[in-house]
Subunit: 117 residues, 4 copies
């Protein structure tokens, strides 16, 4: 069957998460550059169709803990260091999504689907 | 509301497309390296959860046409040079998806959602 | 033979250029998000060893020209839309480098090598 | 001063390393997909100018050790899982380079510069 609007909204939400993660994973990041990276990630993804809002937290405390055990003063961005909230609106269906660490894995998930009343 | 299995299947399909595109866009590619890149893209994405199969065509004729007008003998991978088919299975819901060029834009879309009978 | 300090400085400069280009190529970008992307690129690369300074211009006029012919209001970052200047200092050897479009190709090059006096 | 041919050769070698690492870091990888990814990395980088040869080993034993502690059956490519050798030839200067783990960090380095006899 053809996808419903709500299913398409979820598909679009997934595209944004895959984009965000795999475009920016591997970026050199430090506590000092965490903010500029978070802003760039938000604004880059908000360009994409149906994307209402993106909030990215690069977790400075997690970065600091990682770097305390390291000779380097920066590391590479990976899921351990970032939390994301994103809202997609496709033809009136709003999808709220989230990524954070669950059991050692950066879990992307749909939190709420709100079909048009 | 919580996502249905079919909505989650579509979300998972979107993640794979965003991953595939933004992990590999920008890769140096030529007619000679098109095949190894296509195989690596397929096998990389098939690692991801719920991903049944991925077929990637890197379009050698499009690459050749681009390079005929160029001093270089390679270019960067972008949506003009690739077609993708992907099948996701989440808890018995099968989602078939596709990406190819539509109106000058690499359009990712859901072609079919088959809830469990 | 082992690399001289000046040769190593040039090697390090090359690493930064390859990083900058291939980390960020493919990022969704629009005139509105050009600035945040440029800042993130600069600060990300400045994290890397021996990197004194990075200046990134995302070329808003080139983006606007591209989008004037397009149904979309964003595009993907590629070499046509960015100019970069970078200074590397390795053990007292300073290397100045630049990337901009030359003959339709984003040319990365060493402009000056200044061994310690 | 302008760069010598040997300095330019080292700059070109650095570009290839930055490209290889930041294009492919983050790719979903498993023991089963290690080979196709390694081949794609080699052939992609060999497209670039002055690149004579690239050898990529994706370290299956390291992947297996990582996954033994994980609920997942794949991970993301990072420097821990890859060793690279690369030879650049620029105007008769041959540069041999290598990347492997040193002190917990994927170290890219020039091993030999052989100016034309």
């Amino acid at each position: 069957m053809d996808a419903t609007d709500a299913q398409t909204a979820c598909f679009e939400a997934g595209i944004k998460f895959g984009t965000l993660y795999h475009q920016f994973a591997g970026t050199p990041v430090s506590p000092d550059s965490a903010d500029s990276l978070a802003r760039a990630m938000e604004e880059a993804i908000e360009n994409q169709p149906y994307c209402e809002s993106v909030t990215v937290d690069v977790l400075v405390e997690e970065l600091e803990a990682e770097l305390a055990d390291s000779a380097a003063d920066y590391t590479e961005l990976t899921g351990r260091f970032v939390e994301v909230e994103m809202t997609i609106d496709y033809e009136g269906t709003e999808v709220r999504t989230r990524m954070d660490m669950q059991d050692g894995y950066p879990l992307m998930r749909v939190e709420d689907v709100s079909p048009d009343a």
